[in-house]
């Protein structure tokens, strides 16, 4: 299966960190915290730009 692209989720009211999500063709869904070390004090727009540029770094998959 081709690896699906990550999608940046909209921030919720009590979230302090950004989360990306993706879904595989077999229905499996993964969501991960975003590692933001590439930017200082990032905001949603910054992360969205990284996602668009496919430069997002997420936490390890760790199976499943």
């Amino acid at each position: 299966m081709n690896e699906p692209a990550w999608i940046l989720l909209p921030p919720s009211f009590f979230q302090t960190e950004f989360v990306v999500w993706r879904e595989w063709p077999d229905g499996k869904q993964e969501s991960r915290l975003v590692s933001t070390f590439t930017l200082d004090d990032p905001d949603y727009a910054d992360i969205a730009a990284l996602v668009a540029a496919n430069k997002l770094i997420v936490a390890p998959v760790e199976g499943g």
């Binding site: 979230q15 869904q29 969501s31 998959v61 499943g64």
Partner: protein, 545 residues
């Protein structure tokens, strides 16, 4: 069969040729017949002489039958010593004395006075006479001679010397009669002891590098020595040989004596302690988790090729591309067969006390170990493997290559002890420190939360075990495996997505998205996320090593 010689035996024969001679069996007047003195097989010297010819023959005959004999050996004849082929006519046949079988004196006549008879090779002769006191000396094949013995004399003085032996002699020399007396001590070099002291009871001659020291034995620890006249008795004082305490009690040193206690017994089967057993290594000595592959929260499927870094059974991860192993899940222990690649487990630094560790397992797989937070390298080896001394508080990685594998244990020390199995719920809790999974189980799971809109809701989790670090994500088997129910109006509907929201070390939150109207909900409604499919699975990730 015998050799026969006899006087006045004579007969006649008309036999011709060189064969056996047949005699008439009638002896001339004054003679005896052959059969009178011979028996069959007897041998004798014969002579055959033609009465009217010059033919004659002397030889050794063998009497082969009555009045017939064979000419076994011809000694001399008219045919130059060969057998004569006798012509016709009558022959005189008689027992004779052949010349070359006869001992005779030469013409000198009488034997030499005092001479010794000896053979010359063709006849007998007498040696010359010696003088009084001489002895006969062989002349080889010649005549023996008489010789005078040289050195004859009379001993006039006898004495003895001790040389360097340490012995002395007195009383000599003796010129007529007397006694030589020996004294002194035989030296070591001559096989003696060199000692003159009278040995005490139990004394032994003990080598000292140059000679001997005559002394008694010295008793070592727990040994007693009793020296007697001609005897040494050695005994141990380590114990009487009689166990202390009662039957089944294990013996221990109680102030130098054997003793037993009811607090420590062994009946041949069971070892029982009534007190506290203090060990250098605790009973929880296996610092690997899930070494028997009992916990599989991620539901790794047998034979699935797995990317490097991806976890399979709890705490075990692939360390090469497309690693996979096969297994049939069993209770309590599962043996896996690593078909391709390698798998590894990293021991958390907090569980490493330092020192050497021994890795052991069942099966044909081979392993290698990295200590002090290092990366595994080098050759793989069979069980067991002992590490060099590891630094406390540094991760240890064990990695296995292909083969069968089960009951993996890493423990302090150099001895591989039997596999230490955990109580199931304890082993599950150990695994949940690194990974937490929500499963379908019986379908009765309800994870409660609140709706934040008509399509969004947040579900709150309290972890059963504090994770190593806050989880950083979730993996959902399929959103279709989960539904949300609104407790306010009991409407429900399947989720379209479930995503990680946040996590601490005690609680975590996920966000579920549903279709408006299924369920029907508004912000603030209390809802619950629940599994609807036996394969439903939410795995909390990010706490593994």
């Amino acid at each position: 069969m015998a050799f026969i010689t006899a006087d006045r035996v004579k007969d006649t024969s008309t036999t011709t040729g060189t064969g056996n001679i047949i005699v008439s069996g009638s002896a001339p007047f004054g003679y005896r017949t052959f059969s009178t003195v011979l028996s069959v097989s007897d041998t004798f010297y014969y002579c055959i002489q033609g009465q009217s010819t010059s033919e004659w023959e002397v030889g050794l005959g063998t009497y082969v039958s009555s009045n017939q004999f064979a000419r076994t050996t011809v000694l001399s004849s008219s045919a130059s010593g060969s057998a004569v082929s006798f012509s016709s006519g009558t022959k005189n046949v008689f027992i004779t004395l052949p010349a070359n079988k006869t001992l005779q004196f030469d013409v000198s006549g009488s034997p030499t006075a005092g001479g010794i008879l000896y053979g010359t090779g063709s006849m007998l002769a007498y040696s010359t006479a010696g003088t009084a006191g001489q002895v006969l000396v062989s002349g080889g094949t010649g005549a023996p001679t008489w010789s005078t013995v040289i050195g004859l004399g009379t001993v006039t003085s006898v004495n003895v010397s001790g040389g360097s032996t340490g012995l002395t002699y007195s009383g000599g020399p003796i010129t007529s009669s007397g006694t030589i007396t020996m004294a002194g001590t035989l030296a070591v070099a001559n096989g003696g002891t060199g000692l003159t002291t009278t040995p005490a009871n139990g004394a032994l001659d003990i080598g000292n590098g140059t000679g001997f020291t005559r002394t008694t034995l010295t008793a070592g620890s727990n040994i007693t020595i009793t020296n007697g006249a001609g005897s040494v008795t050695i005994a141990s004082t380590g114990g009487s040989g009689t166990p202390g305490g009662s039957t089944t009690q294990i013996q221990y040193n109680s102030a130098g004596a054997f003793a037993g206690s009811s607090n420590l017994t062994f009946d041949g089967t069971n070892l029982t302690s009534g007190g506290t057993v203090v060990m250098a290594s605790s009973f929880k000595r296996n610092i690997l988790i899930n070494g028997n592959f009992l916990i599989n929260q991620r539901v790794y499927v047998s034979g699935t090729a797995t990317a490097s870094g991806t976890y399979m059974h709890d705490r075990w991860k692939s360390t090469t591309t497309s690693s996979n192993y096969t297994f049939t899940q069993a209770t309590p222990d599962t043996t896996i067969t690593i078909a391709a690649g390698t798998i590894a487990q990293i021991v958390e630094d907090k569980n490493v006390v330092g020192g050497v560790y021994t890795l052991s397992w069942t099966g044909t797989a081979t392993a290698r170990i990295a200590i002090n937070g290092g990366t595994t390298s080098g050759a793989y080896a069979a069980s067991p493997i002992t590490t060099s001394s590891a630094t406390a508080g540094q991760q240890i990685t064990v990695e296995f290559s292909t083969g069968t594998l089960g009951r993996v244990q890493l423990e302090p020390g150099t001895i591989a002890t039997p596999y230490e199995r955990q109580i199931y719920n304890e082993q599950l809790a150990q695994c949940q420190r690194y990974c937490y999974a929500n499963t379908y189980a019986s379908g009765g799971e309800r994870y409660t939360g609140l709706a934040s809109s008509t399509t969004q809701s947040y579900i709150f989790y309290t972890y059963p075990v504090t994770p190593r670090v806050p989880f950083t994500g979730i993996t959902v088997s399929s959103a279709a495996h989960w539904s949300v129910v609104n407790y306010a109006n009991t409407t429900n509907g399947a989720t379209s997505s479930i995503a990680y929201t946040c996590s601490g070390i005690n609680t975590g939150t996920v966000q579920a998205t549903t279709t408006a109207g299924a369920p029907t909900m508004t912000a603030g409604n209390q809802i619950a996320l629940y599994p609807t499919n036996a394969s439903a699975l939410i795995i909390w990730t990010g706490a593994e090593l």
